[in-house]
Symmetry: C2
Subunit: 190 residues, 2 copies
Amino acid sequence: MKHLKIKFNLENSFDNQESNKIERYLGDLRHIFLDKLKVDYILKKDDPLIYEVYQVEVPPEPGQIMFGISIVYPGKVGNEYFMTKGHYHKNPNAAEVYLCLKGMGYLIMESSSGKVNSIYMQPGSFGYVPPQWAHRTVNISEEPFVCFYSVPADAGHDYEELEKTGFKITVKEIEGIIKVVPLEYISEKS
Amino acid sequence: MKHLKIKFNLENSFDNQESNKIERYLGDLRHIFLDKLKVDYILKKDDPLIYEVYQVEVPPEPGQIMFGISIVYPGKVGNEYFMTKGHYHKNPNAAEVYLCLKGMGYLIMESSSGKVNSIYMQPGSFGYVPPQWAHRTVNISEEPFVCFYSVPADAGHDYEELEKTGFKITVKEIEGIIKVVPLEYISEKS
């Protein structure tokens, strides 16, 4: 691991040779959206790209910092906005910091004890995810929602815990207004 | 330490209530520039602001990530470009990542064993400082050189080591060209 010299074009392209690109399509993310019928309806015609991550890998040692760019594309499943899978860190001490570079969205968080929080993000907004909080990003704009993130390289990702329970809040357009809502509210209304 | 919600205006102002502002004027940085006579000449008329850091403090614990914005203002002392003091980390495992948001400059690095490296930075460039490398940023543009940085919260700063020896390279305008040069080269030429 030496000095990484990396150039992401912040205007229109984030591709480069030195980062590890992860792509998640709707077909990979059926379980995270509330309206499975709507997911299946979309998937009959198309399998849209929901988000991409360009991650720069560094040695997974204490003190090293892993970083990259996440891009959530604009769109909705029904009235629920496109979002990332979300994850806990395997290392319970590991925090994460997000800096929004383009677009608008939310950083949604949930603790293992069931508390929730959300941070509205626009270019220049930072959001800090304290240790032991699961987190995801949600695009509420009509352009790609682009965030830089950095995280201890020994954080590790735990997706399984969230796959069991899901998040307790989501972001939906309700009567023309973008709202961060608890799932109970949605099931009462629908 | 909870979820920090912070908005830096990336266009024209980075002031906010939640970060710790550090200002370094030329008078604080006399020792880092080669031409002390030129420093003293400037200081007779003015004590210009060389750089500012807006640092968001988090608990100094393993796994937490400290972050902020550094702004190096444009200018030179003689032919040597404005730059930060530079530092090693007290924690020898701690890396640091820089993302350039505005302007152009260099991330200059030096290891305790005497190796040197430099990374040219423009908006979208990332530079990774591996553990055990001292580092500073240098503005070679005519606008503020603005970087986001993130670093393990338990990294600590060691400025003293560099005050003893200085960096072995600097960035100067030589015959109209911006060059990263070893100090030996400068003393031969001057």
